[in-house]
């Protein structure tokens, strides 16, 4: 187990160092998030619909699209110079390769969300205050679910035609349950309802994460092996 985690961290660190040195992808994703939030603002009639009514949906649709950008990139960058072959030939277990990629993607999406959330609060004038900590919990649970399935699928789509288009087509149906639950929980939290009302959603989110983390860990090797 220690060995697995150490290997996973090596893979994750490689991706993160690569990301940190260039910063192009993460910056693009952050700018994209800001732009989507801006565009959404024009998609509603401010005199008819209160911002807080739409806010949870806007937040989650934005983050889902931003996550998709990061996920598309995760294995795409391994295609250059045949890096994927090197990675597969390295003495790494497939499980740690998946976990490493998962952690790198989580950090990537986490950074984008960390910038996106304050922007969201600013743009839509959401009363966050006391709900911040639970909201971060919802973000963490839902993001884990999204990235868990997304990392598995992004390893598959790079070997298909139209990879960039294939990922959202395959992934979006899988993101509906975490999205529905996250939106429901976020709406309760932003309306200053007690946390106990959202507890059922959070439990179901956690169940989703556990099931798909297990399934993806087991299935990942079938997506990369020759």
């Amino acid at each position: 187990m220690r060995e697995l985690l150490a290997q996973a961290w090596t893979v994750a660190r490689k991706d993160l160092v690569l990301e940190f040195r260039t910063r192009t992808a993460v910056l693009s994703a952050v700018v994209f998030t800001a732009l989507v939030l801006t565009v959404f603002n024009f998609g509603r009639d401010p005199t008819a619909v209160a911002a807080t009514d739409l806010a949870p949906g806007i937040l989650w649709v934005t983050f889902t699209f931003a996550a998709m950008l990061g996920l598309n990139r995760a294995f795409q960058l391994e295609l250059e110079n045949g890096a994927l072959e090197g990675l597969l030939a390295a003495p790494l277990s497939r499980v740690s390769l998946y976990w490493g990629k998962l952690v790198a993607n989580l950090v990537f999406v986490g950074v984008v969300e960390a910038v996106g959330l304050p922007l969201f609060v600013l743009f839509f004038d959401v009363p966050l205050g006391h709900a911040l900590l639970p909201l971060v919990g919802v973000l963490a649970l839902a993001t884990l679910g999204i990235v868990t399935v997304g990392t598995l699928f992004s390893a598959m789509v790079i070997r298909t035609r139209f990879a960039e288009l294939m990922l959202p087509v395959l992934l979006l149906p899988f993101l509906i349950p975490p999205l529905v639950l996250a939106v429901l929980a976020t709406a309760r939290l932003l309306a200053a309802r007690p946390l106990s009302e959202s507890l059922a959603y959070l439990k179901l989110l956690a169940a989703y994460d556990i099931v798909f983390l297990g399934v993806a860990t087991m299935l990942f090797r079938y997506t990369v092996d020759e």
Binding site: V149, M156, V169, F174, P177, Y208, V215
Partner: protein
Amino acid sequence: MNLVRKGRVITLLGLGLLAGVYVRALAFTPVERLQGPAQKIYYLHVPAAIWTEMAIVLVGLAGIFYLFLQDPRLDRFAEASAEVGTVFATIVLTTGPLWGKPIWGTWWTWDARLTSTLLLFFLYVGYLLLRSAITDPALRGRYAAVLGICGMCLVPFIHLSVYLFRTLHPQPIILKPGPPSLPASMLITWLCSVGAFTVLYVGLVTQRYGLSLQREAQGGIGG
């Protein structure tokens, strides 16, 4: 007799049975008091919905066994089952609005059941698109199996999460805890219809399986 022929015969038998079910449903089964004749679509809608979900579970199970056994027959079956499931999902999504218009006054609403069927439909379409985007048969089988297994695991979550929204859809009246709450004559008609759909599923899958075999024999990539 080759498989395609055999499948065609079974499909025709299924269609014949379905016609028989409708003769019984229209002429010999009582009209529902509140919904009137619109309720007759129930005998088409619910069995198709049951087989839509059964088909995705079978795709997932075939996927699990395919990953272990690497047997191309399982992959062919999964593909056939997914295509038939897509057709059944289309039947559900067509008959639903036909019933919804007179009863609810709207063709479509973002009701839990409608949404979950729509998601299943998208899942099937994604599965078939993934298959069509890969040319190498071994890789296609493996990736399709992975997606099929994930899809099977997704079904309960789709159900649970969309059910948290309030639903307008009639509650289950047969597949629920406790005895079915409909008259015996309706129940028998419905059970006959489930039987007819089972025969249809078997027939269509057999045909599709046979087609895959023929295509492979001709060296096509369609699988």
